[in-house]
């Protein structure tokens, strides 16, 4: 039984005893009082009547009249005179019926009085014994009325006390509820702090838990800061703050092979004069300042463009992978314009021929070496255009991009016409033996030939057209279908755009409530950039989904690491670490250390860590050593 119920019962019990007891006492004492008064009246009246009868002549008429007069004018149940031999000489008995008090009450609380007795003399001779009893109807009535009134007070008092008690309980248990909620949240690995209640007992509990949560959070934050520093050191170029060569190439490979982005994109290359030349010309410090300026501009060019990333690939050579620009020309012009505006005016005097810029298109599955060679070639052409100029190479074979309206038709029809499909990829345990779950990747069939588009190819367009919500709902429906017909767990992706949609969250909850039996086997994951862009929405979504029994995770985790302190109060079940860190992990000791720390921290929060983009089964033992609980990727299909 809950504490609150027990308190309530205790209050009710105490009140019943207090009210009920006082009522019984009141009624009984009132009865006792009435009995006494009636008794005294009986005795006194009998004596008075007997005294006056003794003085009077004892003829029948006088005695009869005397008794009748007393009886008729007074309040008597009966008056009787019996002779010493026991014969009744005179008798008057009231025929009044009991009124005012119900029979059961009279039976329950009877008023016991004894009739008054007195002796009547006729000179020295005994004339008889006079017995009389007073009328007790009014006594019963008075007792009954009093009892009713008392009962009324009892009910009123009980109601008032009950109301006050309920209020008091509510006030008492409000902080208790908060403490309980906090404890539950901690059990679900959401580390929340609460305001300390004023009740001293609860206060110390809440304080202890708050301190514990605070310490944990500090610990996580410190660990996150340390790991972030490590990550920066390993994966960033110290001078420009851009990605290091290795990290950039890993990202480029992901763009070329992964599922996250579209099937085509642009690679931009930027070449400065030879670094040694710059150092000679400007001095080491100035040269570094120039590189830093370039780095800042390139970094800022990626703001708001998902997947765009700049890296320093050689001493004075930079590359930018741009998955979101429609053509190479657009990409080249955008970055060129930024350079002209923010870098050139400052440095043109000292270095008139500052840079060349080229842009080439790439297609999914293209060879990275070839792509880099193409870009190199385009750079040469840019140089031929004159100083600080650019050159873009469009892909002659590229399919003409569909206009937005056609996309809308295509996507709407796909949702309604059931042309969405899930393609499943296994996620295996750390040793590669057991399938933890299958990840359902969204595919869209565009034409009768069965050409399938990956999510990365059409979801950006869907996001622009505000169509992600129906598509994501379609995905969940597909997953539910699969779960109902097959065994094992399934993970599905939700778009960053969708999770902020209140209507979608509501619809999703309703949908899942209709299939409570599959919720345990359904996993939801949201890309990291989506989580941090819509953090509050994600937190609420995660809360709702977890209440339904689903698991929630973050995919492509690791690039916004500085914010990961926030993860402590989400109650996440798993994270999937970005493939950029996983590719080539065997030869990257820096990233090994980073990932090891990441796994430790996640495990402390009770979060399962999975590796994305594993290309080689041989990497599994190493990943398991680093602390990964599972992995997925092309090498494991």
């Amino acid at each position: 039984m809950s504490l609150i119920k027990q308190l309530w019962i205790a209050i009710a019990l105490v009140m019943s005893i207090a009210f009920g007891g006082s009522m019984v006492v009141s009624v009984l004492s009132a009865r006792h009082y009435l009995e006494q008064q009636l008794q005294v009246k009986n005795i006194d009246n009998a004596t008075a009547l007997a005294l006056s009868l003794t003085q009077l002549p004892k003829d029948e008429v006088t005695v009869e009249l005397q008794v009748a007069a007393q009886f008729d004018a007074g309040h008597y149940r009966f008056i009787r005179i019996t002779s010493p031999t026991g014969k009744t000489l005179v008798e008057r008995v009231s025929t009044s019926k009991l009124l005012g008090a119900p029979d059961w009450f009279v039976k329950l609380i009877p008023i016991h009085t004894t009739p008054g007795q007195a002796l009547v003399q006729d000179g020295w001779i005994q004339y008889g014994t006079l017995t009389l009893a007073s009328q007790d109807i009014y006594a019963y009535q008075s007792l009954w009325d009093g009892t009713i009134e008392l009962l009324l007070w009892f009910v009123l008092g009980a109601a008032a006390a009950g109301g006050v008690g309920t209020l008091a309980l509510r006030i008492i248990t409000r902080p208790l509820g908060e403490v309980v909620d906090q404890a539950q949240a901690i059990a679900e690995r959401r580390f929340l702090t609460i305001t300390e209640p004023r009740t001293p007992e609860l206060k110390s509990v809440a304080r202890a838990m708050n301190e514990m949560v605070g310490r944990l959070k500090t610990m996580f934050t410190e660990e996150a800061t340390r790991l972030e520093a490590l990550r920066q050191k390993v994966n960033r170029d110290a001078v420009t703050g851009l990605s290091s060569r290795e990290y950039f190439l890993s990202h480029l490979r992901e763009a070329l092979q992964g599922d996250q982005f579209g099937s085509s994109g642009t690679l931009v290359m930027l070449r400065l004069p030879d670094l040694n030349e710059l150092n000679t010309q400007l001095g080491r410090q100035q040269a570094d300042a120039l590189l830093k300026d370039i780095g800042t501009v390139l970094y800022e060019s990626g703001n708001g463009r998902i997947g765009q990333r700049a890296g320093r690939v050689k001493g004075a050579e930079f590359a930018i992978v741009c998955p979101t620009f429609a053509t190479a020309t657009e990409a080249a012009m955008d970055i060129h314009a930024r350079l002209l505006q923010d870098v050139l005016p400052k440095w043109q005097d000292k270095v008139p021929e500052l840079f060349h810029l080229s842009a080439v298109r790439y297609q999914r599955e293209q060879n990275m070496g070839e792509l880099l060679a193409q870009a190199d070639q385009a750079l040469a052409q840019a140089a031929s255009h004159g100083q600080n100029n650019w050159h873009a190479v469009e892909d002659s074979q590229a399919k003409a991009a569909l206009p937005a309206e056609q996309w809308r038709t295509l996507l709407t029809e796909a949702v309604s016409g059931g042309r969405l499909a899930l393609s499943f990829f296994p996620v295996v345990s750390g040793d590669g033996a057991v399938a933890l779950h299958r990840e359902g990747m969204l595919r869209l069939q565009t034409d009768a030939q069965g050409t399938l588009l990956t999510a990365g190819e059409f979801m950006p367009m869907a996001a622009q057209l505000n169509l992600t919500a129906p598509i994501d709902l379609g995905v969940v429906k597909l997953a539910i279908e699969h779960l109902r017909t097959s065994s094992g767990d399934i993970a599905v992706n939700l778009s960053a755009e969708t999770i902020a949609d209140h209507a979608f969250r509501h619809e999703l909850t309703q949908l899942l409530k209709a299939y409570p039996e599959v919720c345990q086997r359904l996993l939801f994951e949201v890309p990291e950039y989506g989580v941090f862009r819509q953090f509050d929405a994600f937190r609420e979504l995660a809360r709702n989904l977890k209440l339904l029994g689903c698991r929630v995770g973050i995919e492509y985790f690791g690039q916004r690491f500085a914010d990961s302190g926030k993860l402590a109060d989400l109650g996440l079940d798993y994270i999937k670490v970005h493939p950029t860190y996983i590719r080539g992990i065997a030869n990257n000791e820096g990233n090994q250390e980073f990932l090891k720390g990441l796994c430790n921290m996640a495990h402390a929060l009770g979060i399962t860590v999975l590796a994305l983009g594993v290309e080689n089964r041989g990497d599994l033992p190493l990943l398991a050593t680093l602390g990964f609980d599972g992995a997925t990727g092309p090498g494991l299909g």
Binding site: I17, A18, F19, G20, G21, S22, M23, V24, V25, S26, L28, S29, A30, Y33, L34, E35, Q36, Q37, Q39, V40, I43, A46, T47, A50, L51, T54, Q55, S83, P84, T85, H112, T114, P115, G116, Q117, A118, L119, Q121, G123, W124, I125, Q126, T129, T131, S142, G146, E149, L150, W153, G157
Partner: protein, 230 residues
Amino acid sequence: MPKLFDTRLTTAVRGLWFGACALMLGLSLAWVASLAEPNLDKTQALALQRYGERAAQTIAAWRQLIEESRALPDSEKVNKVNTFFNRRILFKSDMEVYHEEDYWATPLEFMGNGAGDCEDFAISKYMTLQMLGIGNEHLRLVYVRYKVGSTTPIAHMVLGYYPQPTEEPLILDNLISSVRPASMRTDLSPVFSFNGDGLWVGGAATSSADPTARLSRWRDVLVRMRQEGL
């Protein structure tokens, strides 16, 4: 009366939280009532303690009288009891003995002080005869008007013994030594009579704890008697 009841009711409501305690008190009060059997040892001890050796001797003699008279016929009992008190006890007014205008003494007080007025004689005789097994219906305490010749009549009390309830009584009077039939007592005219009938009906209901019992002079003396072991 309803007004008083209301007051009690209000008090009860006010004292709501003490209800439980009051309940306990009420329950324990019920135990106080008890029906005592005559305990003459207690009476004698009290006499010694309160009035001294002489009083204790009087009580002892009285107890002996009771023992000796138990087997006698009723008329003999009446004579013996009348003689015992008339000889042993002095007539003195209440003012002298108790410094009160009118005081009804119990047999213990009466014998302890060795003195009393007319109603004290009548009461002690009445109680003694009752203890000897003579029923209430044979005994009456009678208020009488006492007048000899042309003197001013005075208020007096005697005990009447009715061998048969319907017949003329024998009068036990402290003013004359012997028991005589009422018809021979022309100096007395009866005014009113009473006995213990109807006072103790229900026993426990009219206990010494009942304050109303002490308000009547007659019931008061009966209550005190009980406390003294009679």
